[in-house]
């Protein structure tokens, strides 16, 4: 659980059809990205906090304010109606009002004619200038998404819940909006929780990450911690880890900095981990970006401890990606293939034209998945 | 006759006098005659105001049974009057007959029919529903007595009131119809072939009576006086009614 003062506490049981959701999380002040497979319950979590859905039991609290409380056996429950929760909520389908134009939609939640920001400025921010008088159905998908975001921001909420707020936006507008949101977050001290499938969004915008699967919280923590130390294969996969090493612990070094595992007959140095016993089966994950190609003439210079983790690999497949090349490698000792990402420059210099390369698995990038 | 010349309120609010209101429920066919009489009444009795509710005799009867605030009841037939007498809604001492009507056979203006006997050659004949419309009842009685009824079976269209029978003849939907003389007189597009023989049906008599719980008994009595008096009879005859 991330440290700091708990801003939002959710402990809720909810049934939807045959799905049973059981959320339990506490979040400190910051921007939280909610990640999880499609259908895992991310939207449900936001709806519970917004008050659109009501748990069967549990407690939901924003700072000192109780949103919902019901003990398991009690019949009575307390529930703050959604319109008193002061929450800015953008649903996955936007929920725009078809009978109002863009401006009217944006100012819909404004109380007493005092918008926190003038409408024209908000339209400008959202790159919607000139569209104020349009009806919703006359907008493109991304324009609609921005109207929904603007509308939620205009009410001056004390918590922002965004369900995939950038899914229909191009990178330029998205970058700008992410900047703006970060500014708003800091200036107004507004906690933000957003659902996303885009790891980049989570990384750039999030302070914390919550991983949800099958209606449960799988992992929660600071983004660096979660990204670098996913606690399960499922989480790791979700976070873009494509390479997994299954092995058995065979020993460790004297200062307890490294352990060694048997990886299909080869020895591999991994970071030392508390509580792992000799002979135990373990799985490690590593991102393609973190498997480095060794320069042709570099191996002599390598620190000795790294030579353990040096492997020869055949290049099975090469795909040019946006920010470099994606290589699929096969190894002599194991049937599992690995995917690595090499920068354009690195590819040009050290890979191009070769059939076999040497790669290095630096222990620090190998992450134990329990 | 002047279409739509409803009762003008005599005097006005400016006169300031609180008026006593006499409420009369009358058969719709009495509309024009009674409206004129109402004006006369108001002129003769300042301080009185006459209100009418014109509807089918049956509707009026149902209304009275359910407490319609009427003073005088003037249906188009004795049946409804008798029923209300039986149920005690009408004061038996006040019931009088005030008009008599005549059943006539009418045909469309351009019809070639000229005699009663031709009726058996016609296709559609409009009569009031014998069960509920008095004119229909009289027509049935008359036609039965004259020996036509059986032969007309299947050609008869029964109407909900006399007016509807007249309307069918006016529009040529029916080749002939049996209506009151007073009704026939109102229409320019029908021709009276012949009145039905007086002896073939009971006389068509219009009763008038005062409700047992009339709010304005005094006025009601005055109204009955007027209607049955010479002046009233004069007006009624203008609209085709005969003396009872």
């Amino acid at each position: 659980m991330p440290g700091g003062f708990v801003v939002l506490k959710v402990k809720a049981e909810k049934k939807l059809g045959s799905m049973v959701f059981s959320f339990d999380l506490e979040l400190p002040f910051g921007i939280t990205a909610v990640l999880g497979p499609s259908g895992s319950g991310k939207s449900t979590l936001l709806k519970l906090v917004a008050g659109i859905l009501e748990p069967e039991e549990g407690e939901i609290k924003l700072k000192e304010q109780v949103f919902f409380r019901k003990a398991p056996q009690e019949k009575k429950h307390y529930s703050l109606p959604p319109y008193k929760r002061r929450i800015g909520y953008v649903s996955q389908n936007y929920g725009l009002f078809p009978h109002l134009n863009v401006e009217q939609n944006i100012t819909f939640g404004v109380q007493g004619n005092k918008p926190t920001v003038p409408v024209t400025k908000m339209l400008d921010w959202m790159r919607l200038s000139g569209l104020g008088k349009r009806r919703i159905h006359q907008l493109s998908g991304g324009q609609q998404q921005r109207v929904a975001l603007a509308r939620a921001l205009m009410t001056g909420p004390s918590l922002l819940l965004l369900d995939e707020p950038f899914s229909a936006l191009d990178n330029l507008v998205k970058n700008k909006l992410r900047q703006d949101l970060m500014g708003i977050h800091r200036e107004l001290e507004l906690p933000i929780i957003f659902v996303t499938h885009n790891l980049d969004d989570a990384m750039v915008l999030g302070d914390y990450i919550v991983i949800i699967d099958e209606g449960r919280v799988l992992q929660i923590g600071r983004k660096q911690d979660v990204f670098s130390r996913p606690n399960s294969i499922q989480t790791a996969k979700l976070l873009g880890v494509r390479n997994f090493i299954h092995g058995m612990v065979t020993g460790h070094d004297a200062v307890k900095e490294r352990m060694f595992i048997d990886w299909d007959g080869k020895k591999l140095a991994v970071p030392w981990a508390e509580g792992v016993q000799l002979g135990q089966k373990v799985t490690y994950g590593i991102r393609g970006e973190n498997i480095n190609v060794v320069k042709t003439n570099q191996n002599q210079q390598l620190e000795p401890e790294l030579t353990t983790n040096l492997f020869s690999a055949q290049i099975v497949d090469t795909v040019q990606g946006l920010m470099g090349y994606r290589l699929v490698l096969s190894f002599a000792h194991t049937s599992r293939k690995m995917e690595i990402i090499v920068s354009n420059a690195g590819y040009e210099r050290h890979v191009k034209g070769k059939k076999e390369i040497q790669v290095i698995f630096e222990p620090q990038f190998l992450c134990l998945l329990r | 006759n002047q279409p739509g010349a409803g009762p003008e309120p005599v005097g006005g609010a400016e006169e300031g006098a609180v008026k006593k209101t006499l409420v009369i429920g009358a058969a719709a066919s009495l509309n024009e005659a009674f409206t004129e009489l109402g004006r006369l009444f108001e002129a003769q009795n300042p301080g009185w105001k006459v209100e009418f509710s014109f509807a089918g005799s049956g509707n009026l009867k149902t209304g009275i049974e359910q407490g319609a605030p009427l003073d005088v009841f003037a249906p188009a037939a004795e049946k409804q009057m008798n029923e209300l007498l039986d149920s005690g809604h009408i004061d038996p001492n006040t019931v009088r007959l005030f008009a008599k009507n005549e059943l006539v056979m009418v045909v469309p203006q351009n019809s070639s029919v000229n005699s009663r006997e031709e009726i058996i050659h016609l296709d559609i004949i409009a009569v009031g529903e014998p069960e509920s419309v008095p004119a229909g009842q009289y027509a049935k009685e008359s036609l039965t007595n004259l020996g036509y009824w059986e032969q007309l079976e299947g050609k008869l269209v029964f109407t909900k009131d006399v007016r509807q029978a007249l309307f069918y003849v006016e529009r040529g939907e029916a080749d002939a119809g049996f209506v009151y003389a007073t009704d026939a007189a109102k229409s320019e597009t029908v021709r009276i072939v012949t009145p039905m023989p007086e002896e073939s049906y009971q006389p068509v008599l219009y009763p008038i009576g005062i409700l047992s719980n009339a709010g304005n008994r005094e006025g009601a009595e005055m109204w009955v006086e007027l209607v049955t008096g010479d002046q009233g009879q004069g007006v009624l005859s203008k609209y085709g009614f005969q003396k009872p």
Binding site: A50, G51, I52, P81, P82, Y83, R85, R86, I87, G88, Y89, S91, N93, G95, F97, P98, H99, F108, G109, Q111, R135, H137, Q138, R151, A152, T155 | N1, P3, G4, A5, G6, P7, E8, V23, G25, A28, S29, N31, E32, E51, F52, S53, F54, A55, N59, T62, G63, Q66, G67, A68, P69, D161, R163, F167, E170, K186, S187
Partner: protein, 278 residues
């Protein structure tokens, strides 16, 4: 648009268009011809007479005041009823809805009799009211009650339908935007249901305006008090057919004018739910 744009391409489609065009024609002919007949019937009749006639003026006044009040009552009582029925689903609502439909089934005269049985001086409720010195029957208010009874279901039914068709997500979103249920209703639910509400109101108004059977029995036929246009037409029909047709024509003209006005107002924000693509 969807269908218009491709029709030219296929002849089969053309055929079916002619077919449906025929249906449209039949329908309108069927409605148009009777009205045409009405106005043809009037040739020679001086409509000017009507405007001078107190009978006509009083009947028009009574008709429009009573229907106006009926509509107000329908909106005030019927709208919450419809809303609650639409939002709460259960067997109670289910049978409630059927009950709601029943008055439409009754022949108007029977409706009038039933109203008398219930609210007449000797009726179930009427006798209670009578003890308080309140008489409902044969009053101006009785006309209103009769109209509400026969026309109400049309409005409530349409309104229920309108409320049901609204995407609940929109109302939920409005709640999260700080609007209390009352505001959500007026700012989201109501405007979204508006087409259904107006159409229900128009139907109810038309039905109330044409109401005859229940009115004449329950409210009587007192000129200036309970004599609505249909009642005046009825009386005129007994005595002066031309006048009754004149009154009918007057009624049709005023209604046409009013209905057109409503349509025009409605269209002011047309294209609300459909854009260029619709």
């Amino acid at each position: 648009m969807v269908f218009r744009s491709h029709s030219s391409a296929s002849p089969g489609n053309l055929l079916s268009r002619i077919g449906t065009g025929c249906f449209l024609g039949i329908w309108f002919l069927f409605i148009l011809v009777p009205f045409l007949s009405l106005f043809l019937q009037l040739t020679g009749f001086d409509m000017g007479l009507l405007t001078g006639s107190t009978l006509a003026i009083r009947a028009v006044t009574t008709s429009f005041t009573t229907t106006a009040v009926s509509l107000m009552i329908l909106v005030v009582v019927g709208l919450p009823t419809a809303y609650l029925m639409a939002k709460h689903e259960g067997s109670l609502t289910r049978y409630g809805e059927v009950l709601l439909d029943l008055p439409m089934v009754l022949p108007p005269a029977v409706a009038g009799v039933l109203l008398l049985l219930a609210f007449g001086r000797n009726g179930l409720i009427g006798s209670l009211l009578a003890k308080q010195g309140i008489t409902v029957t044969f009053s101006w208010f009785a006309v209103v009650l009769a109209q509400c009874f026969v026309a109400g279901p049309l409005f409530v039914k349409s309104a229920i339908n309108g409320f049901r068709a609204i995407d609940p997500e929109l109302e939920e979103t409005a709640l999260t935007l700080g609007k209390c249920p009352w505001q959500v209703f007026w700012q989201v639910t109501f405007p979204l249901a508006l087409p259904s509400l107006t159409s229900g109101l128009v139907m109810a108004w038309a039905r109330a305006l044409g109401e005859f059977g229940a009115t004449i029995i329950f409210a009587g036929n007192f000129p200036g008090r309970t004599q609505t246009l249909p009642l005046a037409i009825y009386v005129a029909m007994e005595n002066n057919f031309a006048l009754s047709m004149g009154l009918s024509a007057l009624m049709v003209l005023i209604s046409f004018f009013l209905l057109t006005l409503i349509k025009l107002l409605e269209r002011k924000d047309a294209g609300r739910f459909r854009g260029a693509k619709g």
